[in-house]
């Protein structure tokens, strides 16, 4: 049997300390936590930075490093620093060393890197080793070359290689959400279907149970199945909460693709054990012929300025769409004329918050609100142009009248300056897999002795 302690769905989301302590008393074999995802958008991958604050990360990571030292078991984090680029891995490595020095810990650290040089992916693309997944965007050599960061998602093979070094702490770059949990049960030859299924159930910590914010859960893996036990007071796992987690952020609730194959839970059976544990058997792992890892890439999509104005005057609130459409037209004309631009050099979008900013033209529930937030978004090819266009939009959002006869109106700007330059903005451009002859081909492993 392998017992995996999962403190929470992500480092930075906090965990219940009492529950963690309880988990340690159960003598786990490894502590596994996820450090990121693509869910917060392309900017983190584009920039190669963490979404969570350094302070939160350090406090929570220190708690886990202390727990590891106390239990004498490995601690593994996947997708370090939200995006799992080499820069994000180095960021967490640095924090780890500072904490180790503060605590007087001497550590063997294994670092698994997942960043892909653009040249490697260009070559693989030319060799026909980059394959699109369902509804992948079109790619080209130019698009691959323009990515500021590309990462490959490590699976259980790469995490296992890191665990095999005998490291105290494993800091991994981009990894599938499940691989850090599935690796040890797979290394010990336990049921592969159960290893991946249990890992999927556990990857968000206590989200598979009641009281999801408590974070901490324990999963026992064996030769037939796995058992989930939430650690916090008042947190219960039921067959319903556990099986329902397969729905979460998963386009197919029965199939999960991983490097080297896929998990099929169509025949899984979920049984309650007492009032808070759930036992699962019948999950199936189907190995694939080719070994592939998923790629993620972010490219520089332009530069953006954002302005927010508030409409409170009843007549303007009622006629906001006409007002906006007039502004859009006049602004576009002026931008083309004064800045000598072509239409494709920039874009403007004005969203009406309180009216239909969530769904635009798809909104079905149209009412007249008390006020409307007007969010003007201009996107351009350079930062200077984004600023210039934001400033050009400013007088319209401040003073544009519905009719030319009326006295010049003035609307509310909540800030000064009114235009916020968001700097570089990024876009996701890869939904592809990379075919590898050896799982370690696109990854590198380094072992560091610290202290």
């Amino acid at each position: 049997m392998v017992r995996v302690l999962i403190p929470s769905g992500a480092l930075g989301l906090n965990y219940d300390k009492v529950a963690l302590e309880r988990g340690l008393e159960a003598k786990p074999d490894i502590i596994a936590i996820d450090g990121g995802s693509t869910d917060s958008g392309p900017a983190y991958l584009g920039r190669g930075v963490s979404k969570y604050s350094r302070t939160s990360t350090k406090v929570e990571w220190q708690g886990l490093m202390e727990a590891r030292a106390k239990a004498g078991i490995p601690l593994v984090i996947g997708t370090a620093g939200t995006c799992g680029t080499d820069s994000a891995v180095d960021w967490l490595l640095k924090i780890t060393k500072v904490i180790a020095d503060d605590l007087g810990q001497s550590l063997k650290i294994a670092v698994l890197r997942s960043s892909q040089p653009n040249e490697r992916i260009l070559k693989a693309y030319a060799d026909g080793k980059v394959h699109p997944l369902s509804h992948a965007p079109e790619i080209s050599e130019d698009i691959i070359a323009s990515c500021s960061n590309i990462v490959a998602l490590a699976g259980a093979e790469q995490i296992s290689a890191a665990i095999e070094t005998g490291a105290d702490i494993i800091i991994a770059g981009r990894t599938t959400d499940t691989a850090t949990i599935a690796a040890l049960p797979l290394m010990r030859g336990l049921n592969a279907g159960a290893a991946w299924h249990g890992a999927k159930i556990g990857e968000c910590g206590a989200l598979c149970a009641t009281n999801p914010q408590s974070g901490v859960i324990l999963i026992d893996f064996d030769k037939e199945g796995f058992t989930v036990t939430p650690m916090a007071d008042g947190s219960h796992a039921t067959p319903h909460t556990v099986s329902a987690h397969m729905l979460y952020e998963n386009s197919d609730p029965f199939i999960l693709h991983e490097p080297g194959g896929y998990l099929d839970v169509t025949k899984a059976e979920y049984t309650a054990q007492g009032d808070s544990k759930v036992r699962v058997i019948g999950s199936k792992w189907v190995p694939s012929d080719k070994y592939t890892v998923k790629l993620e890439g972010a490219f520089l999509a332009g530069y953006q300025s954002v302005l927010i104005a508030l409409l409170r005057d009843r007549r303007y609130v009622e006629n906001a769409e006409i007002w906006v459409s007039d502004i859009r037209e006049k602004f576009t004309e002026k931008a083309i004329d004064r800045l000598d631009l072509r239409k494709e050099d920039f874009s403007i979008e004005i969203r009406l918050i309180g009216k239909n900013a969530s769904f635009g033209g798809l909104e079905t529930n149209i009412t007249t609100p008390v006020e409307i937030g007007v969010m003007g978004i201009v996107t351009a090819t350079t930062s200077e142009l984004a600023t210039e266009l934001g400033q050009l939009l400013n007088p319209y959002l401040l003073h544009h009248p519905l009719t030319i006869e009326e006295e010049q109106p003035t609307f509310a700007f909540p800030f000064s300056p009114a235009d916020l330059n968001r700097g570089e903005i990024f876009g996701f451009c890869l939904n592809h897999v990379l075919e590898l002859s050896d799982p370690m081909d696109a990854f590198s492993l380094e072992v560091i002795q610290h202290g």
Binding site: D39, L133, H135, S243, L247, L362, G427
Partner: protein
């Protein structure tokens, strides 16, 4: 007939990666599950989200009283015209649909 959001326990939408959106309808009981299964066609979902019906995956899961739809995101997550990075607000649009 009632709106979907009035008869089911919860409608949840989330990203399934940057390129897909997935909507889970937790019906709560068999009655609401049957009412939703019969009253919410894939055609209707395709119209609500202005998405090609051939790209919509529909799952009916009686053991959980859940109906799930997955389809390519209306805009790629975080792209210039995306309105909701986490994809969670889209549930509200489906909640407002009148069941047949």
């Amino acid at each position: 007939m009632a709106k979907l959001g009035e008869i089911v326990q919860k409608v949840r939408s989330k990203n399934a990666g940057p390129f897909w959106l997935t909507i889970d309808i937790f019906c709560g009981d068999v009655e609401a599950f049957e009412q939703t299964r019969n009253g919410l066609s894939t055609d209707r979902v395709s119209a609500v989200f202005a998405t090609d019906i051939n790209h919509i995956k529909r799952f009916e899961i009686p053991s959980l009283n859940v109906i799930k739809f997955s389809f390519p995101r209306p805009e790629i997550q975080g792209s210039i015209h995306d309105r909701d990075i986490h994809g969670a607000s889209w549930a509200a649009l489906l909640s407002d649909v009148q069941l047949n």
